[in-house]
Symmetry: C2
Subunit: 173 residues, 2 copies
């Protein structure tokens, strides 16, 4: 176990050096979303899963909600309100039937993730975003931020779940 531990430290040290050399993608070059000034958080695609959902109707998507380490810890500990630095990401893809899977199952029952639709972020900063419950909101499509008009509606829509610090998604155990 001790050896594994030192190897782990070495690997992380190496990863740290590589990260040092790499450009800070998503933090400097990309455009920030309006109103809240949020950029796409680097590495969000590898964050831990909070839960999954399907929105039918016009949205017609399959979605995954991920959280950075601060958000995941708060979820697991039941910490409310979420601490500053928590970020929740909502990814979504077109809801597409899988012919391949249906053949295996012998009936039409399988729906999978198609093309990505957009990605949303909620960023907790109780001072910076005090006027909107401590949360900043952003939506990106193909890496481009959505316009201010869309973001204007975020906080009002989240108001009904103020008791859960304005966060709809519950952790899927």
């Amino acid at each position: 176990m001790r050896r594994i531990f030192f190897v782990l430290v070495a690997v992380v040290a190496l990863a740290g050096m590589v990260a040092d050399m790499a450009p800070a993608s998503g933090q400097s070059d990309e455009e920030a979303a309006p109103i809240f000034g949020i950029k796409i958080p680097p590495g969000y695609r590898d964050w831990s899963l909070i839960s999954v959902a399907h929105e039918a109707g016009d949205l017609n998507d399959l979605r995954a909600v991920l959280g950075n380490d601060i958000a995941i810890k708060a979820y697991r500990d039941g910490t409310l309100p979420f601490p500053d630095g928590a970020i929740i990401a909502r990814l979504a893809w077109r809801y597409v039937p899988s012919e391949e899977n249906n053949k295996i199952f012998g009936q039409d029952q399988s729906f999978v993730a198609g093309a990505p639709t957009n990605v949303q972020f909620m960023v907790k900063d109780s001072k910076k975003y005090a006027a909107t419950g401590g949360w900043g909101f952003a939506q990106f499509k193909d890496g481009e931020p959505d316009d201010a008009a869309m973001l204007d509606s975020c906080f009002g829509c989240h108001a009904p779940v103020e008791a859960r610090d304005f966060v709809f998604t519950r952790y899927a155990h």
Copy 2:
């Protein structure tokens, strides 16, 4: 940046020590699944997301497919067959309408993750599991492994996707 790097190493070192002291949950005490002898891999709930899906019909679930670092790297690099050590986890929950969300949307359209159903793992070991395409299969419900009869059908069902190394799920970009 240099300071952040050393803090990172220190934090990981601390995490390593804590991990050293903690019991190796999922590796020693829990029961292994039959045939392939697979135990629940520690930390799998925090693995990165590969994709999401909805199975209707009798399964009636929402599911998330996660991968360990080896599996995720293989997906992103397009490496086939998956290298030894790759593990793919399929989590699933009951497909449940969300009255709370439907109220916000003003129509019945929202389905979320309910109670967990079961968790499946595919573990790549080209020597150990040579007879089944290099993959070992396991299914756990409430932490208990499913019986051999269920696992007997896994490989046959995955055979149609031999060209993708017997893995159905595609990476959701």
